[in-house]
């Protein structure tokens, strides 16, 4: 009897499990998926959105570099559709796409200038949908974003790869979806997004073809594009936001009439202090940076303390020039692109309570004192510059 009971239990379990755990409920076979590597959002007439998706073509990818055989085929195809919002546009694409849209590998969300100027309401989708990544990069182009996806890139297989790599360079302010949303929702923080544009090819003699290039920064006022910062203003933004992490600064040789000197930024920090003045408030930004000498053209005694001091001063002046340019731009646009508001909220919350409603106007009138300290620490593997027998 006992054995019979055990046996019947075993059989029941066997039947139960063989019915219930045979496979995945919502399985997705890889050959049924349209894997997206980049999405571009553009303005369409009547307040609609045009969504362009870059969908990878697996055979071309599997061919590998220099495979020869698969070279003719494009690595990815681009499909566009319009909709009242992103979700609708994505559904409209799904009606043309034989495969299921698969967001999980999307690394880049490219936003067209027109849409950014109109106001960006479309990132909600990317943080609500479960497949999309919160860590996708966000970038803005001045022209149509979809056009950038069509650029034939070098070295990297797709524009998405290429732009994700460019984001690692130290002259931009890379921002991910969740950071953008956090910047939108946090008091006293305005989103700034890298700007990317088409440029003539980097391969010599192929003037017709195009490449992608970081050309500065898009400054947002809330969810609307307020203006562009060029590369030098972007450097100023980096310094003033305390996000400068590296890069090279080239200045005129301070002692010789001609020639240039370059220094590489090793370390940088920014400290913000609030000083109360009679008529309101002032800000003092202290920037301290350590640099190494990278290139010297003229015959100079690098070891000479006076010479070093002169270089340090010239570099400091260059940095504060960039900062002042960025500051002037932000004040002109009436956008606090440096998150000064959030800092002030942390340091003098009472004052912030008074001004936060009209912070952008208050910010434009606030005096900002920029103080730069540059320390040259190293000179590389050569002490004096190359000697000429003159």
């Amino acid at each position: 009897m006992k054995i019979n009971r055990r046996l019947s239990r075993f059989v029941i379990l066997l039947v139960f499990f063989s019915v219930t755990i045979t496979g995945c409920w919502s399985r997705n076979e890889i050959e049924d998926l349209g894997i997206i590597s980049a999405a571009a959002l553009d303005a369409a007439p009547n307040n609609r959105v045009q969504l362009s998706l870059m969908i990878l073509q697996p055979p071309a990818l599997a061919g590998g570099p220099g495979g020869g055989g698969g070279g003719a085929e494009e690595a990815a195809i681009i499909i566009s559709a319009e909709g009242n919002n992103v979700a609708e546009a994505a559904r409209n694409i799904a009606t043309m796409l034989p495969r299921k849209i698969f967001w999980s590998h999307n690394r880049l969300i490219l936003i067209g200038g027109d849409l950014a100027k109109r106001g960006l309401h479309d990132l909600d989708f990317f943080s609500r949908e479960r497949q999309t990544r919160l860590t996708s990069w966000v970038m803005v182009s001045s022209g149509k974003a979809a056009d950038l996806l069509k650029v034939k890139t070098h070295l990297e297989k797709t524009p998405a790869e290429s732009l994700a790599q460019l984001n690692r360079s130290q002259v931009s302010l890379p921002i991910q979806v969740y950071e953008f949303l956090s910047a939108l929702s946090t008091e006293g923080v305005g989103p700034v997004v890298p700007r990317v544009d088409k440029t003539p090819s980097l391969e010599a003699g192929k003037g017709k073809e195009e490449a992608l290039k970081l050309t500065g920064t898009a400054i947002f006022k809330e969810n609307r594009l307020a203006g562009w910062a060029n590369m030098n203003e972007t450097r100023g933004l980096l310094w003033l936001r305390g996000e400068m992490a590296g890069g090279v600064i080239t200045i005129n040789d301070p002692i010789h009439a001609e020639g240039y000197i370059s220094v590489r930024i090793r370390d940088a920090s920014r400290k913000l202090t609030v000083i109360s003045e009679e008529d309101g408030l002032g800000l003092r930004v202290k920037i301290i940076t350590d640099v190494d000498v990278e290139e010297v053209q003229q015959k100079s005694q690098i070891g000479n303390p006076q010479y070093i001091k002169a270089i340090e001063e010239a570099v400091a002046k260059e940095i504060s020039d960039h900062c002042n340019k960025a500051l002037a731009l932000a004040k002109e646009l009436r956008v606090d692109a440096f998150s000064f508001g959030a800092q002030i909220r942390g340091i003098v919350p009472d004052y912030w309570e008074q001004v936060h409603e009209e912070w952008d106007n208050v910010f434009s009138d606030i005096p900002v004192d920029i103080d730069v300290e540059v320390n040259i620490r190293r000179m590389g593997l050569r002490n004096n510059t190359m000697e000429r027998k003159d």
Binding site: W25, S26, L134, Y178, S182, S185, A342, G346
Partner: protein
């Protein structure tokens, strides 16, 4: 006695952890941060204070009535019929909250992982599995928690460690407490979670070692839970900023989503999810177990086992009925639940304890008089 199994003090500690933590780490940080803004972690710290106060309350049960559970103490204090009424009240609380936990489990899985799978699949499978675990008794549940605990704590700590790089400490400023009222209101919700530890007062007699020292483990467990909640809430604020952290449905899950280290360690959320499912399973099992135990005790049954299957169906059905959608669930936990829960976590235990202690003392003094 209804339960023949026995648990040790460390298992008691883990059981308290599992009674509270698995759902607390999921939904509480967002709700609290929504009210307390950048001081969300401070509200959590405040609720840790309330939690310890409640733990002290439950500890007195361990010290004064080491061989009785809350219902028996209640019967001693108020007599048989009022005692039964208290039991029926707790049955309602356990059934309702147990169903809400099961629903939250299902809703989370459908929202975040498997949108195509019907909610009923998750709810029915987890409840039947929990029923099986309950059938095996307290000892098995205790050992199960010993097995799941290292996984859950490791997963939580790994997630926090991997997002440290994204921390921005300026997001915690200004540190000034702007309004004590706001902080108190914000700490009410996590406090009602901490108070879920009231469930252990029903298993006091089944702790086999040094029951007089058990209270240390009870308080220790609350401190552990509170500290973990403070760390997690701080992490979500430090990474997302308070405004965005409050806008995310499951900020702790989103923390796992943003992990990206060298393009290699990415998309860790599935792993976190698997471990979390194990944790919630233990939580559901514990609530289920206490539910059948209290019912059996209230109505003087010899065994709780016949109750398991009927209750499983009650829980399944109720978890569908309670909320129309996930928004309704969040509305419920941030408005109704703290007050509904606190009456069973604070009011009744205090009332029962006070009367029982007074009666006990009266009895002792009269006994002393007789001796004299």
């Amino acid at each position: 006695m209804l339960e023949k199994g026995r648990i040790g003090n460390f298992q008691l500690y883990l059981i308290i952890l599992f009674i509270i933590l698995p759902t607390a780490i999921l939904s509480v940080p967002a709700v609290t941060t929504g009210i307390a803004k950048q001081a969300g972690w401070l509200a959590m710290a405040l609720s840790l204070g309330f939690g310890v106060a409640m733990a002290v309350l439950y500890s007195i049960y361990f010290i004064k009535f080491p061989s009785k559970n809350l219902l028996e103490v209640g019967e001693m204090a108020f007599g048989k019929w009022v005692g039964r009424l208290i039991g029926i009240g707790y049955i309602g609380f356990l059934l309702h909250t147990g169903a809400a936990i099961i629903r939250e489990f299902g809703e989370f899985l459908v929202t975040a992982v498997m949108p195509d799978t019907p909610l009923s699949v998750f709810i029915i499978t987890i409840t039947l599995l929990a029923a099986w675990a309950v059938y095996n008794g307290l000892e098995v549940i205790g050992r199960m928690s010993e097995f799941v605990f290292p996984l859950l704590s490791a997963a939580t700590l790994i997630v926090i460690t991997l997002v440290v790089g994204e921390f921005d400490f300026a997001r915690l400023k200004p540190l000034q407490i702007f309004d004590m009222k706001v902080l108190l209101a914000a700490s009410l919700i996590p406090s009602s979670w901490m108070g879920e530890a009231v469930l252990v007062t029903f298993i006091i007699p089944y702790v086999y070692q040094a029951r007089k020292q058990s209270w240390l483990w009870v308080i220790g467990a609350i401190v552990t839970v509170g500290s973990l909640l403070i760390i997690i809430t701080s992490a979500t604020i430090l990474v997302f900023g308070y405004a965005e952290a409050a806008r995310l449905t499951f900020p702790t899950f989103s923390l796992a989503r943003i992990i990206s280290i060298g393009d290699i360690i990415e998309r860790t959320e599935s792993l976190v999810m698997a471990v979390w499912v194990a944790g919630v399973f233990v939580k559901i099992t514990l609530w289920f177990y206490i539910l059948v135990l209290v019912t059996a005790q209230t109505f003087g049954l010899k065994s709780y086992k016949p109750l398991i299957l009927p209750y499983a169906f009650c829980l399944i059905t109720l978890s569908f009925w309670l909320f129309r959608n996930i928004m309704g669930f969040f509305q419920y936990i941030s408005t109704t639940f703290p007050f509904w829960a606190m009456s069973f976590e604070v009011l009744i235990p205090i009332a029962v304890l006070t009367v029982a202690l007074v009666r006990k003392r009266g009895k002792e003094t009269s006994e002393n008089k007789q001796e004299a």
